[in-house]
């Protein structure tokens, strides 16, 4: 379960990016976060991924009160997350296989077994022929699939995606969200931040709308 109670967030002494935000996502649910540019979608994703501390309020992630977690426990909790970034954030000096392998290495899995798992996943998504290629040599769509493979290789309990369709054409964007649906059906909680109202309206999942003045509300897709 993910729960935010009266959460506010600001950078340094600047204005509040998120103000008194309260919501609750059930385990295994699928949610969109929608809002204009600057509404705080990326900040919320960062707060959800434990890379940005909130300035007020209570946050519960996967049933754990994050305020009570030690540094070690926070690292262990992050291992249950998969994150997809708009700019993919692939490591250009590592091969496609090593990029996907990295989360498993971070978790301490033996490299040989992890290597086989990563190769199998990449073959399954049609990238078996480019295992040793460097990311800059791939097309945008291929890079995007590598980024998704890296996010899901560890079978995450929570998948966070920040504008994952921002660099994709309409067809690829839809395919990506269908892939997220498949993951959701296997029990992964999925949270996708996007500004693309038209795309979100094609999926029957609740949307958390972030307004610029703190007028946040959860709505159905039809109401967006």
């Amino acid at each position: 379960m993910i729960r935010f109670d009266n959460v506010s967030l600001r950078y340094g002494r600047g204005p509040e990016v998120l103000s008194d935000l309260t919501f609750r996502f059930e385990p295994g649910s699928f949610h969109f976060i929608e809002g204009e540019s600057g509404a705080g979608k990326s900040s919320l994703i960062r707060a959800l991924s434990l890379t940005l501390p909130v300035s007020a309020g209570d946050v519960t992630l996967l049933g754990r009160d994050v305020a009570k977690l030690s540094r070690h426990e926070r690292a262990l909790l992050r291992r249950k997350f998969g994150i997809v970034f708009q700019d993919f954030r692939l490591l250009d000096h590592l091969s496609v296989l090593d990029n996907v392998l990295l989360p498993l290495i971070v978790c301490g899995q033996p490299e040989r077994a992890a290597r086989q798992d990563a190769a199998d996943l990449l073959s399954w998504i049609g990238l078996g022929a480019v295992l040793d290629a460097l990311p800059p040599t791939l097309s945008g769509g291929e890079q995007q699939r590598v980024a998704v493979a890296r996010a899901v290789i560890g079978k995450p309990s929570l998948l966070l995606a920040d504008e994952p369709t921002g660099n994709l054409d309409w067809r690829l964007a839809q395919r990506l969200l269908h892939l997220f649906e498949e993951l959701n059906k296997m029990g992964t909680t999925v949270v996708v931040a996007s500004h693309d109202k038209q795309l979100l309206s094609r999926f029957p999942y609740p949307v958390l709308h972030l307004g610029r003045n703190g007028d946040d509300a959860t709505t159905t897709p039809a109401e967006v």
């Binding site: 890379t51 909790l77 992050r78 971070v106």
Partner: protein
Amino acid sequence: MRPGFGGIPLEKDATARLLPALLALLVFLAGMALFTVFAMHRIAAQWDKGEAGELTVQLPPANGLGQNDVAAAATAMDRAIEILKATPGVTLVDQLSEAEIDRLLAPWLGTAEASHSLPLPQLIAVSLDPAAPPDVEALAAAIQAAVPDALVEDHRRGLQSLVSLARWLRGLSWAVVALTFIGCMLTVALVTRMGLAAHGRVIELLHLMGAEDSFVARQFQWHAFKAAAVGGPIGLLIALGTVVAIETGLGQVDRALIPELDLTPLNWAFFILLPVLTAAIAVITARIATLRGLGRLP
């Protein structure tokens, strides 16, 4: 896991090439300072030994004089030797022959037999018991009472300041060794901070994946270890080459002035330890610097 494989491309940094050279230089400097420590220790010990255990007694010349004076000089020598041998704490009394005096003067007067052409004093080398030395002033007074022109030269006066200087240089050299280790720490800390700054995005990504600080620190430790493993032995080899060159050079110098500086097995062990210690310091520093640098991440 492949050694060092953890996503951070530290081997591509400019510091990857620079750090081994810097560590080699520091090990070289530490090696030279350590050699100075051992050399000063040996010199101080040698001079200290001379200071505590030896005297020279000079008597009026016996050569180039008339028959009566030669007899008087022989009598003076006998008296002085008699007094010395009767003094408790004197372990050896050695009247130097003319050949031995010529050898002592050879560095200044050449190989010519100076003792035949110059009125040189007669010399007695006296060894004292370091554990229970006699009262040198009383001994000098007794000899001068028997042989008025006798001169008792106490080596302590000349060597005292040299021994102090050698000991001071030894202490200074230890300080230089310590400074090079501090230099090693600062260098590795600086390189680690530069690496953390240069690879901030990669480190943040690893952090997001759930990497613990120690996972990131291990990569910087491995980077520092590799640099030390390359630079340390190179620095040591250059230092040892320099030591051998100095030893060879000193071999040409009169050993009466500078004692043998042959290194003991323990000394060599200290030299071998230098790169090992440097590697250990580099790894520990890299770890501490990384963990402190990562503390800013939530």
